[in-house]
Amino acid sequence: MIDPDLISVGITLKLATITTLVLFVLATPLTWWIARTTHISRYLLEPIVALPIVLPPTVLGFYLLLLFSPNNEFGQLWATIFGRPLAFSFEALVIGSVIYSLPFYVQPLQVAFENVRQELLDAAATLGAGPIDRFITIVCPLSRRGFIVAATLAFAHTVGEFGIVLMIGGNIPDETRVLSIALFDHVETLQYQRAHLLAAGLLTFSFITLFLVYFSNRTRQSPPFRRGIE
C-alpha cells in the first residue's frame, strides 16, 4: 500500500499546480488591466484583490463554507450544474486556494507589468502588433521575472496553506487530504519523527525546485567587465 503521506503529496502538488494555472489564466489579464487602466475602478479593485489575506485562513474558509452550502444560492447552483455539492471536493479546494493566493499572484506581476515601457508597446503597435499580440510578445516576456515570482509565491503558498483547506476540504484521504494537513496531524498526534521527515522532505524538494526555477530563469548575466558599479 502506498504511504498515505505520499498520496497527500500528490494531492498537494495537483492542487498547487491547478491553482497556479487557474491564476495564470484568470488573474493575468486582470492584473494587466489593473496595471494599465487609468479608470478609477482600478483603485477599488486593487484593494479587493488584496483583501483575502487579512482574514485568517480558517475564517476565510468558514465564510467560503457558508457560500458553498446548498442552503445558499451559489452552492445550490453549483450542485445543480455539476451534480454534486461543492464543499469537501477538490474543486472547492481549488476555489479557496485561488482566492487566497490571488494577491500573491497579482501584486508582484503588477509591479512587473507597470515597469514595461509604453514606448516599446508604441513601437510594437506601429509594427502592426495588436493589443493581444503586444501583450503576448512584448509584455509577457519582459515581465518574466514577475511571472516567476507570482507563480512561485502562489504555488508555494498553496502548498503551505492549510486553514482554508481544512475548512472546505474535509480532510478526505485520496481527495482533499493535502500535505499540510498531514503534517499538521503528525505534529498534533506527537508523531514527531514522521513530521520531521515530511517537513524535511518538503523543504528539500521545495528548495531544489525553487533553486532550479530561479537559476534557470536568471537574468542573462552581464559579462564581468560590465560590472563597474554594484
Partner: protein, 362 residues
C-alpha cells in the same frame, strides 16, 4: 496612400499644436523646425500613438479611411504606418535578428522591400546575433531603421533617423531611402534638424515653429526662398532642375544642362536626357562681374541678380535667376559693395563643381 490631418491640440504644459497638413500620395515630406516645435508630437498623432484630449480636435484621414475624428479612432496597428523613433525602441528581450523578424512577421503589405537590400545598405549582417543592449548608438539606430523598412508599412514616419549615425553610413543610407520611396511609391515623412538631409530627400517641406506651420510648399520652390534660407546661415541652399547632357568617362563627371549652361557633377547614375535635381549650397557660389578664366572652378553660369537680402552680420544672400530657375549665393557685404552689385545686373556665378557632387538628387 495620401494622408491629411487637421489638428488642434493643447498640452497641459502650455504647448499647443495647430496644424493642417497633407502628405501626398508619394514623395517625401520633410518636417523641419527647432527643438520643441512639435515635430515628434505631430508624428505620434499621425501614427495613432496619441489621440488628444477631450477638448482637442484631431482629424486624420488617409485616402481610404478616416483614421480619427471626434467619434472614430483607428488604432496604430491598423494604420500600417511605420515609425522610426527619435529615441530608438528596440525590444530588449529579443536579439537583433528577432527584432527584425518581429517586423517581418507582421508585414502590413506584401509588396515589400527586398530584405537583402536593406541588410546591405544598413550593414545589418554583422549585428544579427547581437543582443540589443550590446549595440553601439549608431548600430542600434541602423537596426531600428531596418526594422521599420522590413515591416512593409504603407507610410513611414522618420523622426530624426540619422541622429547618431556617422557620416559614411549616412551617405549610404540617404540615397537608399530616396530610392526606396521611389520604388515603393509610399509617402514618407522625414523629420530632421539638418536642412541638408531634408533638402536632399524631401519633395515637400513643412516648417514648424512653436506648433504652427510657418512655411510649406514644394521643396523645389521653397529651396531658393530667401525667407527660409536667411535663417540658415552657412547651410542656405537651393535646388535646381537640370537635364543630363552627357557623361565624361575620363574624369568621372557628368555634364548637366542647366537652362543652356553646362554644369558638372560627379555622379553618372542617370542616362543622358533624364531630368535630375541638383542642390546648390549658397556658400559654394561666388559672383564675378567678368567671366573668370584659368581657375579650378568648372561651373561658371551666367545669371541675373533677382534679389538681395542683407544679413545682420557681414553676409548677404543674393538670389540669382536663370530663365526662371533660382539659386542662391552667399557673399560678404564687402564684396557686394566692392563689385557694386545691384538687382537686375547680369553676373557670372562660379560654383565649385565638387560642391555639387554628392548633392545630386537623383
Amino acid at each position: 496612400m495620401a494622408i491629411s490631418a487637421d489638428i488642434k491640440l493643447e498640452r497641459l504644459s502650455g504647448f499647443s499644436l495647430d496644424v493642417s497638413l497633407t502628405i501626398p500620395n508619394n514623395g517625401i515630406t520633410g518636417l523641419y523646425g527647432p527643438s520643441g516645435s512639435g515635430k515628434s508630437t505631430l508624428l505620434r498623432l499621425l501614427a495613432g500613438l496619441e489621440r488628444g484630449g477631450p477638448s482637442d480636435s484631431v482629424v486624420i484621414r488617409s485616402d481610404e479611411d478616416t483614421w480619427q475624428n471626434e467619434s472614430q479612432f483607428t488604432p496604430a496597428e491598423q494604420r500600417g504606418v511605420g515609425f522610426v523613433f527619435q529615441r530608438q525602441q528596440l525590444f530588449p528581450h529579443l536579439d537583433v535578428q528577432e527584432n527584425l523578424q518581429f517586423a517581418i512577421r507582421r508585414q502590413h503589405t506584401q509588396d515589400s522591400t527586398d530584405a537583402g537590400q536593406v541588410y546591405e545598405w544598413l550593414n545589418i549582417a554583422p549585428l544579427l546575433r547581437k543582443q540589443v543592449d550590446q549595440l553601439s548608438g549608431g548600430e542600434a539606430q541602423r537596426v531600428a531603421i531596418a526594422r521599420v523598412l522590413l515591416n512593409g508599412a504603407r507610410c513611414i514616419l522618420f523622426d530624426e533617423p540619422l541622429g547618431s549615425i556617422d557620416r559614411s553610413a549616412r551617405s549610404k543610407i540617404l540615397p537608399y531611402l530616396e530610392r526606396l520611396h521611389r520604388n515603393l511609391q509610399i509617402p514618407m515623412i522625414y523629420v530632421s534638424h539638418s536642412l541638408d538631409e531634408i533638402t536632399y530627400l524631401a519633395d515637400t517641406l513643412y516648417v514648424l515653429d512653436a506648433g504652427r506651420v510657418t512655411l510649406n510648399g514644394s521643396m523645389l520652390e521653397l529651396s531658393a526662398s530667401l525667407e527660409l534660407n536667411a535663417a540658415e546661415g552657412e547651410t542656405a541652399s537651393a535646388v535646381i532642375a537640370c537635364r543630363v547632357a552627357r557623361h565624361d568617362q575620363q574624369y568621372g563627371l557628368c555634364e548637366l544642362d542647366f537652362e543652356g549652361a553646362p554644369v558638372f557633377v560627379n555622379a553618372q547614375l542617370y542616362a543622358p536626357g533624364e531630368q535630375v535635381r541638383v542642390r546648390i549650397i549658397a556658400r559654394d557660389v561666388s559672383i564675378a562681374t567678368t567671366k573668370p578664366a584659368s581657375t579650378s572652378i568648372l561651373n561658371i553660369i551666367e545669371a541675373r541678380i533677382a534679389a538681395i537680402e542683407l544679413d545682420t552680420g557681414p553676409a548677404a544672400l543674393v538670389r540669382l535667376e536663370r530663365k526662371g530657375q533660382c539659386f542662391l549665393a552667399r557673399i560678404t557685404r564687402k564684396s557686394l559693395d566692392t563689385l557694386n552689385l545691384v538687382i537686375g545686373q547680369t553676373v557670372f556665378a562660379q560654383i565649385k563643381s565638387i560642391a555639387l557632387l554628392t548633392d545630386i538628387i537623383p
